[in-house]
Symmetry: C2
Subunit: 107 residues, 2 copies
């Protein structure tokens, strides 16, 4: 249980072209988000804190009305309740989003 | 503040050949851990939950007496209070460790 096997990974499609692979602890949760070019994550908000890093590719993230083009290694911190979304995916991309507390609907 | 600049990253050396770059939220914290071949993270424990992923390279992680060789993309979940350490770094490696709650000494 310490070392996660693929069978323990929860998989979901959260928007067209946006697939997530989720690994959950009790206090935090990792969501590996694969984004196809042209896909979007509609603007939304949730009470869970979200921090993350771009692992591959490039996309435009909007947080609280601020838009920025992010690339590999770029990081972000989105406090709970703040509106955000991915508005433009330029190349096939992977982001790692971390939620705390975990999002129960992603387990 | 949503999009993290390099000047906001906290940097520390936690063992010989083991350097961390830390980005903190209020509830979770990302620590990018660079491990040189031959370095080690001595066995230790802390009350903070730790989950993580290998971003580059390969190393042996021991958790609660269980040793496993991990490579790129492998993930782990270490509940608070469980002893763990890196006992063998085979190639230059980077792990992303996520702590919840954040470790105050890493901010």
């Amino acid at each position: 249980m310490y070392f996660i096997e693929e069978t323990e990974v929860s998989k979901k499609t959260i928007a067209p072209g946006v697939d997530i692979r989720v690994i959950s602890g009790e206090k935090a949760q990792m969501s590996f988000v694969s984004l196809a070019p042209g896909s979007q994550v509609p603007m939304h908000r949730h009470p869970h804190e979200q921090i993350g890093v771009v692992m591959e590719g490039s996309f435009d993230l909007v947080v609280d009305g601020q838009r920025k083009t992010l690339g590999k290694g770029d990081t972000y911190v989105i406090p709970g309740g703040v509106e955000h979304g991915v508005v433009e995916v330029k190349t096939p991309s992977v982001a790692l989003d971390i939620f705390s507390p975990p999002r129960e609907e992603y387990r």
